[in-house]
Structures are given as structure tokens and as C-alpha cells.
């Protein structure tokens, strides 16, 4: 095979790997937004917290990674549940910007607490994925990225299935369409809120462990969540399909831009894309367009 083309394939595969992780994080935003109409910027910090919890269980207490991973995910879910009951429920019906700023403040609190607990220095997670290279045909893929891709894909598949077929998924979709109507149909809307936040934050924490396994953890790793936010804005805040496609697409684009233009271009391309997307399709590629009234 032409070496240039092979290189391109390898770059693209790496892009798809990080794209899957972006899609998984984006899913956390979408779940929470669909249920409660809140853009939760603290998803970034919950993601970071997930990485640190895994670190604490696996390195601090010497648990097996296969025990530490579910514990980290559960930890993220607990944080989500507490935040929803304590901070978000009292803010329901307030101006969306205020609620958004609450999540910004929450992010700051989580970063500060993490630094208090574990210090501000970056750490590496104990290896739990083998580093043996993997080849797809002739193309080299890092095993960590391949595992990440598979895990993220399976998680997304489970979510999509639950959404379609499970009663809770239907309740979530009903709540997303019309909270008052769903409530009067006997759907436990507050329950849906809690579940969405718990599952959303658990997902983010899981994504944090995967991200930490690839690149290590630090209190600034939440920046990754900002890229995932770009994904949901482009894909549509209330669209799971948008998160999936948008995540993979942005992963590819970042990987290409980073390789062929230089690393520093990947963020400028990401945010340039975001502005173009907002101006052309403010409600996202797959999002619901809300009609304005007098």
C-alpha cells in the first residue's frame, strides 16, 4: 500500500478512536439536556473526577482496575444525583443561562475539591490495557485507542437500545417533548430528571477513565469536555444521533488538522467549525428547531 495513504488511514483510525470518546462524552450532555433542558458544563469536570476516582481506587487502594472502573462510574453517578437534587432542582424554570452558570460554578467547585484531595500535578493511571500494538490490515492502531473505541461503541449501542425499547427511555423522550404533558400522563418527571443526571454523569465519569488511560489525568483535562460540547452544539443539543455522528466527525477532523496542519490548529479548526455551524444551523444538524412566537 502507498505509505502516504497508509499513514492517512492510521491518522483517521486514531481520529475515530478519540471521536468515539467525544461521542460518549457528548452523550452525557445530550441525556442531561433532553431531560432537564440544562446544558451542563460541569460534564467536563465530572469526566475529570471519573479519572481521579479511578486513580484513587486503582492506585491508592490497589483495587483491580476491573473493580475500580465500575466504582468510578458509580461515583460519577452519585455526584450527578446529588447535584441534580441539591442544585438543579431548585433552579428549575429559571432562565437557562442562570442554570448554565450554576454548572459553571459547580465545575469550579469540583476542580478545587479535586486539587484539595489529590493535588494539582498530572498523574498517570495504572495500566490496565496492554500496550501491545494492534494492526488492522497493515495499519497500526494503538491498542488503548482501539479498546476505547470498542467500549465507547458498545456503550452507545446500549444507550440507543435502551432509549428505543426500555420504558424509562420512552419516559425520557416524553419528558423531552413536553414536561407538563408527560407529568400529567403519570410519568414521574422528577424521577426522569434524577435518572438522566445520574446516568449522564456516570457516562462522563466512564469517559474520563478511558481518556485518562490514554493520556493520563490532570485537573485541566476537563478541556476535553469543551470539545464534546462543540460536538453537541453542531449535532444538536437534543439529538443522540447528532452526538454519535458529530463526535466521530469531529474526532476525524481534529486528527487530520492536528497531523497535517500542526497540533495547535486542531482547536482553532474545532472552534471555527463551531461558529460556522451556529450561524448556519443554530439548532444543530439533527436538533429540533424551535419556532419563535410573538
Amino acid at each position: 500500500m502507498n505509505p502516504d495513504f497508509l499513514f492517512f488511514i492510521e491518522v483517521s483510525l486514531a481520529g475515530l478512536g478519540s471521536g468515539a470518546l467525544l461521542a460518549l462524552t457528548a452523550l452525557a450532555y445530550v441525556l442531561i439536556y433532553k431531560a432537564t433542558r440544562v446544558v451542563n458544563l460541569a460534564v467536563s469536570e465530572v469526566l475529570m473526577l471519573g479519572g481521579y476516582l479511578f486513580f484513587a481506587f486503582a492506585a491508592g487502594w490497589n483495587f483491580s482496575p476491573w473493580l475500580a472502573l465500575p466504582l468510578a462510574i458509580i461515583g460519577g453517578g452519585i455526584v450527578g444525583g446529588i447535584v441534580e437534587r441539591g442544585l438543579i432542582r431548585p433552579m428549575l424554570g429559571e432562565n437557562p443561562i442562570s442554570v448554565f452558570m450554576v454548572t459553571v460554578g459547580l465545575g469550579s467547585i469540583l476542580v478545587g475539591l479535586t486539587e484539595l484531595m489529590w493535588g494539582a500535578d498530572p498523574r498517570t493511571l495504572p495500566a490496565f490495557i496492554s500496550t501491545k500494538p494492534l494492526f488492522l490490515g497493515e495499519a497500526y492502531v494503538s491498542r488503548k485507542i482501539a479498546v476505547t473505541f470498542v467500549v465507547a461503541a458498545v456503550a452507545m449501542g446500549i444507550f440507543l437500545a435502551l432509549f428505543r425499547f426500555w420504558r424509562g427511555g420512552v419516559a425520557l423522550r416524553a419528558t423531552a417533548t413536553d414536561q407538563a404533558a408527560a407529568y400529567s400522563c403519570g410519568i414521574n418527571v422528577p424521577g426522569v430528571f434524577s435518572v438522566a443526571w445520574i446516568v449522564g454523569c456516570a457516562t462522563a465519569a466512564g469517559a474520563g477513565v478511558l481518556l485518562g488511560a490514554i493520556g493520563g489525568i490532570s485537573t485541566t483535562m476537563g478541556v476535553f469536555g469543551l470539545s464534546a460540547l462543540v460536538v453537541v452544539i453542531i449535532g444538536g443539543l437534543d439529538s443522540i444521533l447528532g452526538a454519535l455522528i458529530g463526535g466521530l466527525a469531529l474526532g476525524l477532523i481534529q486528527s487530520w488538522a492536528g497531523t497535517y496542519l500542526g497540533g495547535e490548529y486542531s482547536s482553532v479548526v474545532t472552534f471555527g467549525l463551531l461558529i460556522v455551524a451556529i450561524v448556519i444551523r443554530p439548532f444543530g444538524l439533527f436538533g429540533t428547531h424551535e419556532i419563535e412566537r410573538l
Binding site: 446544558v39 431548585p90 443561562i97 448554565f100 450554576v102 476542580v111 461558529i275 451556529i278 443554530p282
Partner: protein, 347 residues
Amino acid sequence: MIIGTAKETYRADESLLTTQPQRVWLAIFAASLVALPFVVNDYWLYLTCLVAINVAAATGLNILTGFTGLVSLGHAAFMAVGAYTVAWLETNLGTPFWVNLIAAGLVAAALGILVGLPSLKVKGLYLAIATIAASFILHFCFVHFDGITGGATGINIPPLTIFGAELTTYFSLYWVIMPVTVLMVLGAANLFRTRIGRAFIAIRDRDISAEVLGIPLLRYKLMSFSIASFYAGMAGGLWAYFFRVVTPESFPLLTSIFLLAAIIVGGMGTILGGILGAVFMTLAPELLRYGVEWISPLVPNAGALLSPVRTVVFGALIVGFLIFEPQGLAEIIQRIRRFFRLWPFRT
């Protein structure tokens, strides 16, 4: 207790301060601003200058976000534009400082109009996120247009010169920074006595109805963006003279969040709120420093706790005010005023 205010002309009723106590309080405040540099030490003078710069920037953001309802998380990037403008003019042309400051405002305002363009199609959160994106793109420009910005190392700025005298002490800089800030705040207060300020508030409350009532949305949204950016640019220019070096990392996203937090804590949509919020949010970390110094004999390694505790308190202030006191400090002040207006006849 105030029994009533009798005005004989409409002009008197339209004036900025309508009661005698207001005038007295303002006179006391102005006198204390003049006296301040003679009584406090250098460290507090440094903090006061920093507060003044933040008040100017927060007032600008308040015009955009608090009064016009357009949320921006990119305000710090415009401060950076102002700081770079001053730095470039000082090092390349050596123009007088007031020319540089106004140029800083104007360059930022021009960019503000550009960044404000998406506000025609989107509002609310989408706009906030678009402004984050714009600030990242500007950051990229600061790093890569190194011919103008000095790249990652930034630009060193010569001291502010006025009539041949170099202002290098905080004491001397105070006499430039504080008057400029006071003028900017007064300008903002005046703005909301006129049709332009009313138009901004109308756009915030109901933009579509405002259009039917004769307010061209495009022009006024962009005007609000340009005024806010002008304020940020001026504040950034003052910042540049104060710190004497500007790099791409001088104005991170956190500064934008800080300014938005300041107007939330102070009270959105009131001039007083922008001032109170900026003062409070700038000084709160200092109070924490005293707290940490106080416990340091008891807790080992207390100094290392300062930075994370500040981060936690910063977030907690945002969350706490939004949940418990969404109208901010300005509303608390109003409550106190209402109490004293009828005091001692009602408790």
C-alpha cells in the same frame, strides 16, 4: 427617613441622583476615592487599581449581558485585544497614553461587532458558546500573529508616560486608572437614562416586540456588543499599563468566567451591581489569604491549600448567589435602603 421628594422640573426628576442622601453618600464616596491613596499601603493600592480595572471591564459586560441580555463568555479576549493594542502602539509608535487607551477601546469595539454578528441568528446559550469559540480563535491569533503580538512570549510595555514623567508606582498609576474607570461608569449610568439604554433593556426583555416598537434589532445588538467590547478594550489597556507585559495567557477563559461571575454576584442589569460584583470578587480571594494565614500555625502546609480553596469558593459564590440571591448584592443594598427609608417607623 425620607418623607417624599418634590420635584419642580422634569429635568430635576430625570437627573441621575434624585434624593439628598444619595448626593451626600456620593460626595463621601468621591472624597474617599481621593483620600484613599494617601492612607493605604502599597499592597492595598495595588488591589484598588486591580479592582478599578475589573470594575471597568465588568461594567462593560453588564451593558451587554445584564442590560441587553446577550451572554458573553469571551469578554476577557477583548480585554486582551485592548492590552495588545496599547502594547503595540507604545512599542511601535509611542503615541500618548490617552490615544492608546481610546485606540484600545476602538479596536476591541470593531472586533466586538464582528463577534457579535452571530447574535442576529442565535441567542442565549448558543451565543455564549459562540463567544467562547471566538475567544479561543483570538487566543490562536495572539500566539501565531507573532509579528504583531510577539507570539507566546508576548510584549513588554514601557511605563505610562504623562508630560514626560514615567508613572511606575501604584500611587501614580492610581491617578490615571481610577479617573478613567469613574468616567466609564458614569458614561454607562448616563447611557441608561436615554433612548439607547431603554432600547437595550427592551431587547433583553422581549426582542421581537421591541422590533415592532421601532427598535432595529441588528443595529442595537451590535451596538451593545461594540460598547461592551470598547469597555473591555479600555480596561485591557489600563491592565497593560498596570502589569507592563501582555502574553496570550494573560486573559484566559477563566477571566471571562470571573467577569460574568462578578456581574451575577453583584447584580445583573444594574450599574451598581457591576461595581459591587467586581469589588467583591476581586477582594474575596484576598480575604481567603488572610484566612489561610490565620490557620497556618494550626494546619500543616496551609499555603498549598490557598489556590484550591479559592477555586472552590469562587464556584460556590456563583452557585450560591444564583440559587439564593439571584438579584445579587445590589438587591441586598436596595433592601437595606428600603429598610432605612421608613426607619424607625417600620422594622
